[in-house]
Symmetry: C2
Subunit: 244 residues, 2 copies
DNA sequence: AACTTCGGTATTGCAGGTAAATTATTGCAA
DNA sequence: TTGCAATAATTTACCTGCAATACCGAAGTT
């Protein structure tokens, strides 16, 4: 394994490239949620004709990252706080199950690796002590490994391929809250401990609790919004997203 | 509610129509899993050019109902027994949660309606007693209402819009098993009872158990397949699906 | 006889162009 | 000045045509 010739390369059509590019732009924030995209502008900006671009858009449409209104146009899917809450609820159920399965299916080596990952995080955290925030990619890495370790490939794809993306768009870090980073790290440790004990029920519970904290944060925002008569998060409709 | 003017009609592009048509063809079995579809043939058969057809295909691709291999072609997604099992596992978690939420969020009227539905099923079942099988659409209706009653729209769409479709393709009726129909009806009653009691935990448990039975059926098949040295379910590759 | 190579045929991938719909703008009237 | 109407401009929707790639069968080689 590891040889350069072992990986089977797949021909990539323009559509694939364009779709990936747009997806990346959405996640990176280059294309803001709710912003409209002009076919002509995007096509010339990417150097392709409108055919493949439209096909790429259709695919992302199927994945609910883009929304098209016939004869009007395409916009980046915008999630309301309510949507966000719903998605987090789904995530809780799915990733809870994944974690329970991981307790049964992950290899000892994988779990050990997970533990090392956390020690690593701890160090990095102590460096920027007061920054008090858990770097996004680290958090993602931890969750990713567990989900992959569940042994249920479809479940893993649903989480890492679909739900995570939607959440990332919102760079929704409840971890920006003051003491949250330390808490999160501790919760990660609890999860790892349950995995080491090979206790699926405890693992599921630990993961669910961890995720519930994140969700509570959103629920607080919802509550605040509805009481304050806050403007219901108007997604900027005017802006047209480019990729330059 | 229910007025003819309440439904907001959306302009439907050719792509929408074509996509729906293909989806229907897949579900109805007109297009078998694993079968290849020729763009030219489908296009002429549907009376559209290849452009919109390709876009429709791309969308279904995003929804994992179709799979495209670059420069080769498109085929209807084929699920192995292992895939099926994975999906059923996901369904268990998701629909379990949905049922728990439904116990909190469904209106009394909706629950009462559910009960009437079951009485109706019972009658119909007793008519074709020995046929011993729960008509597919009835079963779907029951589950559909509960899922919709969860109050979590995204969850409902994931289940009814995505997972159910994948499962329907396989018309995988564990209900064809001899005594299964009666059992299933009884389980439905248990679920309804938990909802009436407004007991979310019991509701979730009842639903999970109901679904676990279906899954066990698949697991048995997997076991049988691997021991018998059965050919691993070769999806017919040769056939080209038409819509005529 | 089996395997490889080579050419023809069919299918997919991509680009541009025309028609239809929506949005923006301008002019007119109240 | 405001509201409406007609028109112009922009954008999407769809179709056709051409290029690139893969598939299939025949001929040739080992």
């Amino acid at each position: 394994m590891g040889g350069l010739l072992d990986n089977k390369v797949q021909a990539q059509s323009l559509v694939d490239v364009v779709a990936e590019r747009i997806e990346a732009a959405i996640i990176s924030g280059q294309l803001e949620p709710g912003s409209r995209l002009s076919e002509q502008a995007l096509a010339t900006s990417l150097g392709v004709s409108r055919g493949p671009l439209r096909e790429a858009i259709r695919r992302l449409e199927g994945r609910k990252l883009l929304e098209r209104t016939p004869n009007i146009g395409v916009r980046v899917a915008a999630l309301s706080l309510r949507d966000l809450n719903e998605i987090l609820q789904v995530r809780e159920a799915l990733e809870g199950m994944a974690c329970g399965l991981a307790a049964l299916n992950m290899s000892d080596a994988e779990i050990a690796e997970l533990r090392r990952l956390l020690d690593n995080h701890e160090k990095q955290r102590s460096v920027q002590e007061n920054k008090g925030y858990y770097q996004e990619s680290k958090d993602f890495d931890f969750h990713f490994r567990i989900v992959a370790g569940s042994g249920n490939e479809r479940l893993a794809r649903m989480l890492t391929g679909d739900l995570y993306y939607l959440l990332r768009v919102y760079r929704y870090k409840s971890s920006t809250k003051p003491g949250r980073a330390m808490e999160a790290l501790q919760e990660h440790r609890d999860i790892a401990a349950a995995l080491e004990r090979r206790d699926p029920q405890a693992a599921e519970q630990a993961m669910r609790e961890h995720l519930r904290h994140a969700r509570r944060y959103v629920e607080e925002q919802i509550a605040a919004e509805t009481t304050n008569g806050h403007p219901p998060a108007t997604p900027r409709k005017g802006r047209v997203g480019r990729l330059d």
